[in-house]
Symmetry: C2
Subunit: 145 residues, 2 copies
């Protein structure tokens, strides 16, 4: 089971977008994310709808942040991605008749709910400027693979 790296990928790109301080195209940003422009746009669509970033079409178009880093929490980004599933484990059937299965499910669901709360709490506490390196790494966006 491969992990969903979208949150990590998007955070990465957002920080680079801030450092660039100019419009960057899907083509450039997708390379920085290690993918292709269509996947990049698909991934960023939610962030645009959530008002975290802006995109402009046509000549000289591209992407930029719609808010300063300190006004974006990890939770904002996570939710803009559509709150992707956090866990790789779960119950096979949700509505069980069997009393044993009900009890087993309850334990799993409770623990996962507690862990999910932990995630959203932590994510809500962290703003993107807290992740940004103090001193800009580089003025240009570069690929990492």
């Amino acid at each position: 089971m491969n992990r969903d790296t979208r949150l990590s990928d998007v955070l990465h790109v957002l920080l680079h977008m801030e450092q660039a301080n100019e419009l960057l195209t899907s083509d450039v940003l997708a390379r920085s994310m290690g993918t292709n422009p269509a996947v990049f746009r698909r991934t960023m669509a939610g962030l645009r709808e959530a008002g975290l970033v802006r995109s402009e079409k046509g000549h000289g178009g591209g992407w930029q942040l719609a808010r300063p880093l300190y006004e974006i929490t990890l939770l904002d980004v996570y939710e803009a991605l559509g709150r992707p599933n956090l866990f790789a484990i779960g119950n096979r059937s949700e509505h069980a008749e069997c009393l044993v299965e009900k009890n087993v499910n309850a334990v799993m669901v409770d623990t996962m709910a507690e862990a999910a709360t932990l995630f959203t709490t932590r994510f809500g506490e962290i703003t993107l400027d807290q992740i940004a390196p103090r001193h800009p790494v580089s003025a240009s966006v570069h690929a990492h693979r």
Copy 2:
């Protein structure tokens, strides 16, 4: 990404094994788990090696618990399954050069480590008898699908 239901499945079967109080075959238990005997054996191999259950070959063979329910924690079962991956999210690359990526990874890794600790703590606190219904549901193992 489909969820790994092995922990839930195995807990379910273990509780039924206890209620039966006799050797049950892979064939019967696999049905109760909603799969086939080979998958069942593959899944239970770790539990046998961990000493949570015993299996016997040949005529009249099958599976039984090797310990009472109150001496088995969910953590024991989870570890016997090989500590399957808990999370559906993660970082794309683990050893990044880029300082931005390093920071992003650190946040993700920290939060996931904290959540993992929560899981193992909760799992370690719960013994199987705490999940078992007070009064036996049924003397026979039955399928649920």
